[in-house]
């Protein structure tokens, strides 16, 4: 990326980035939530430029505007300009810069997120017991084909743990040799990177890569698209150590194609929510759908905003913990579950533990719990075996 300070003035504030490609609704989650133009992409880019020029000073409000960007990349997808692919990098670079120049003055919730990762290895204020979810799933041993990297939510969050167990069960049933890192696992650093704490990210990435090296890991399968993204796209910037990384939906897709998993008939109506770090970041749209459609009898109902146009649940860039977009009927997760419900589906399928916790909370607040079950793809498959 070229120096963002020399480029950021190129935003014309035309607003295409507020929408999906068909203009059906607002698709920048923080704009949809707050509705001041300042909370849209152009708002951020113009305010960063103003801060660089000294036309505005740092303030808590400015920091809130900057950190409520979930780095969902809808703007990257929609901006018609040649620089579009750099937009989120500019926002992240400005966060880093601001952290340095403004001596760490960032929203308290973001500070505590980063401090917790630094002190505890996770942002969830949990100490140790990273393998408490595992219920006897064995540790990775040299020779195992896959390291199953479950990440912080998979290790500690109630819903994340269920997802992790369900994926592990399917892998076992398909005869895959794999193991986990258990208490030796560390935060993947994806959010830390996006929040602009590049040094801490470097430490986390190096630690994980070192561990993989020590154990001779050649293939990693991740529970979370966030970890998948960090390992696939950002770890190579830190080290040239080679290991193959896939997301669990890709692995499941292969296993289904090879008939190593055979779901039975299940007459269910499902809609699928594309997570940003699988979809827009890594262009994985087909495999999760193929997994679901391999279940005989399933009806896959698309939400209006899907694939490249998917509407972020609001959890990216650490917001599944910091929750800077919460507290309103217009919080992205609540908008998203209403959209999912409108499809007529009984199940809202997810492929990301962060989307899982955001959308689980949202169905409760929206009183949709009895009408719309949020499940991860592996759970939908497991229930169809």
């Amino acid at each position: 990326m070229t120096d963002y300070t020399k480029q950021i003035h190129r935003c014309f504030r035309c607003g295409y980035c507020k929408f999906p490609s068909d203009y059906s609704d607002f698709n920048c989650p923080s704009y949809a939530r707050f509705r001041f133009d300042t909370y849209s992409t152009s708002g951020r880019l113009w305010l960063i430029y103003a801060w660089l020029k000294g036309e505005i000073e740092w303030s808590e409000h400015l920091a809130e505007i900057l950190y409520s960007c979930t780095t969902c990349k809808n703007c990257v997808e929609q901006c018609p300009m040649k620089f579009s692919s750099d937009i989120v990098d500019w926002i992240v670079a400005a966060r880093s810069d601001m952290m340095e120049k403004e001596k760490g003055r960032i929203p308290p919730r973001v500070t505590s997120f980063l401090e917790d990762v630094y002190r505890l290895g996770n942002p969830l204020k949990e100490r140790g017991k990273r393998d408490a979810w595992a219920n006897g799933i064995k540790r990775y041993q040299p020779g195992d084909e896959y390291l199953f990297y479950v990440g912080c939510l998979g290790s500690y969050d109630e819903f994340g743990r269920r997802m992790a167990r369900s994926v592990a069960r399917l892998l076992s049933e398909a005869g895959i040799s794999f193991g986990i890192l258990g208490n030796d696992e560390n935060c993947c650093g994806n959010e830390v990177y996006l929040l602009g704490e590049k040094e801490l990210f470097q430490v986390l990435a190096e630690r994980n890569i070192q561990k993989f090296k020590e154990l001779g890991v050649k293939k990693v399968v991740t529970l979370s698209p966030h970890a998948y993204n960090a390992m696939k796209n950002n770890y190579p910037l830190v080290s040239n150590a080679y290991f193959e990384v896939s997301h669990y939906t890709q692995l499941l897709c292969g296993l289904l194609r090879e008939n190593k998993i055979r779901p039975s008939r299940n007459k269910i109506k499902v809609t699928y929510h594309d997570p940003c770090f699988l979809g827009r970041y890594n262009k994985i749209y087909g495999e999760p759908r193929e997994v679901l459609q391999s279940i005989p009898g399933i009806e896959l109902l698309e939400m209006e905003r899907n694939r490249e146009n998917s509407f972020c649940c609001g959890g990216g860039s650490g917001n599944f913990v910091t929750d800077l977009l919460g507290g309103s009927e217009e919080s992205p997760s609540r908008i998203r579950v209403r959209e999912a419900y409108e499809t007529g589906a009984d199940i809202l399928a997810v492929a990301c533990p962060s989307c899982m916790t955001m959308l689980q909370d949202a169905v409760k607040v929206e009183n949709l719990e009895s009408k719309l079950a949020v499940k991860d793809i592996s759970q939908v498959v497991a229930e169809s075996l």
Partner: protein
């Protein structure tokens, strides 16, 4: 002292009002070249009643108000010259009614063109509106208020001609209904005729006479197919004649005349984009033939010809709104462009393009000259469009000077400045027939006795 912030928060809810520096900064500028000026507050009402309460408060306390839609007019019309309250209308985003039989839609004051287009495609695929090429976030009302032009303007006139009724909050706080629904709340088919057309008190006034909270808009048949033909000529003086011949056919949807220096292969040529629509291949073929025939003599005399447009080049030319248009702002890698778009008599096209080229070489600028034919060719919008680098103050200054000259030229040539800057408005006012000006002044004083509405604009 009265706490305006809290009073506004009581009306719209705390989440929808701000006096933070960040909102004041952002809402104090637009993407064009007008120097910024910050508001004191930004509010985002959701209902007509909320707008009414804000206006009443502002009128009582004599606080300036500036309504803002997409803020994309580019000529500073939403920059609060005297501070006060900017009302961001986009939370009033409901599409209230579509009447399929009488072909109109009723929208709230902040509905965007993008969302209206999507809504019609989804729910009323046989109907469309005259979408402009402004970015999808621009609002239907903002566009009508500045007498915008869209894809159906060649056929049916300015987008404001297509308005079929208004609901307005007057500067003194009354809610006023304009058009057929002033006597029957259900019917929004006419903005005035056959009675006095009071919509003229609000359209073209840049928010200085009231805030439009609802607007009725005519819809038109949406044909199943669209295609584009491109006619090329290097004879500037032939353009008015070509347009005359094309409009004579009554077969075209939109006609856009383009001249730009980049890419180099386009330099020196005038590209006339002719959009046709139809419900069948036969209909399109018929129209193509008639259009071919109409321009045959120009083709024969080798003064122009049709360009064969490869299939993969057609989608960007047919896209509505055209995203290509905003890419012009990145030509100088600087995020800016502004255009003065005078409405000119058709026959003046050669003079205007010659003038633009003169300005380009005098001030060393990057330009594009795009013109849209209006209402069957009675006039056209001629865009003196210049792109600039926001980080290059010198270039911005040169464009300001060029636009100033373009405005003076427009007035000399008898053209009408479209969406004029405040400076251009002053230029117009200086030259206006004194009695016309008197009427404008009386209207303004009558409707806005305290001068709170978008002050600085149309100050007669």
């Amino acid at each position: 002292m009265i706490d305006i912030y809290n009073l506004l928060a009581e009306i719209v809810g705390e989440q929808h009002v701000s006096n933070h520096k960040e909102e004041r900064y952002f809402y104090g500028c637009d993407p064009g070249l007008t120097p910024p000026h910050e508001p004191d507050y930004v509010v985002m009402p959701e209902t007509t009643e909320e707008v009414q309460q804000i206006v009443k408060l502002a009128n009582k306390e004599k606080i300036p108000i500036v309504p803002k839609g997409g803020g994309l007019a580019l000529t500073g019309l939403v920059i609060p010259q005297k501070g006060g309250i900017v009302i961001d209308m986009k939370r009033m985003g409901k599409i209230l009614e579509v009447n399929e039989k009488s072909r109109y839609v009723v929208v709230e004051g902040g509905v965007t063109h993008g969302m209206l287009q999507n809504y019609l495609k989804k729910h009323h695929p046989k109907l469309r509106h005259s979408i402009p090429d402004s970015p999808a976030i621009s609002t239907v009302v903002g566009n009508a208020v500045i007498h915008g032009q869209g894809r159906l303007t060649q056929q049916y006139g300015f987008n404001s001609d297509m308005v079929s009724g208004l609901e307005v909050v007057l500067p003194t706080g009354e809610i006023c209904r304009i058009g057929s629904h002033s006597i029957s709340s259900q019917h929004w088919f006419s903005k005035g005729a056959p009675w006095p057309d009071l919509s003229g008190l609000f359209l073209g006034w840049f928010g200085t006479t009231g805030i439009i909270t609802k607007l009725g808009l005519r819809l038109y048949p949406c044909k199943k197919m669209r295609d584009v033909m491109v006619f090329l000529t290097d004879k500037i003086e032939l353009v008015p004649d070509i347009i005359l011949k094309l409009t004579h056919t009554e077969m075209t949807e939109d006609i856009v005349v383009n001249e730009q220096p980049l890419p180099p292969r386009m330099k020196g040529n005038i590209y006339i984009l002719i959009i046709i629509t139809g419900d069948s291949d036969e209909e399109l073929d018929f129209k193509r033939k008639i259009i071919w025939d109409a321009l045959w003599d120009i083709f024969e005399s080798r003064d122009g010809g049709f360009l064969s447009v490869p299939a993969d080049m057609k989608p960007p030319l047919l896209e509505m709104p055209s995203r290509d248009v905003v890419r012009f702002a990145d030509v100088r890698k600087g995020g800016g462009f502004e255009y003065s778009g005078p409405i000119i008599p058709l026959e003046k096209y050669p003079e205007f393009i010659t003038k633009q080229k003169e300005l380009v070489s005098k001030y060393n600028l990057s330009y594009s000259a795009t013109s849209r034919v209006i209402a069957g060719g009675h006039c056209m919008m001629y865009a003196f469009a210049f792109t600039f680098n926001r980080a290059d103050p010198d270039e911005m200054d040169r464009i300001r000077k060029a636009l100033r000259e373009a405005a003076e030229f427009t007035v000399e040539q008898g053209g009408m400045m479209w969406k004029p800057t405040i400076e251009e408005q002053k230029m117009i006012i200086e030259r206006m027939d004194p009695n016309t000006l008197k009427i404008m002044k009386k209207i303004k004083e009558l409707l806005d006795p305290n001068g709170i509405m978008n002050p600085g604009n149309w100050e007669a």
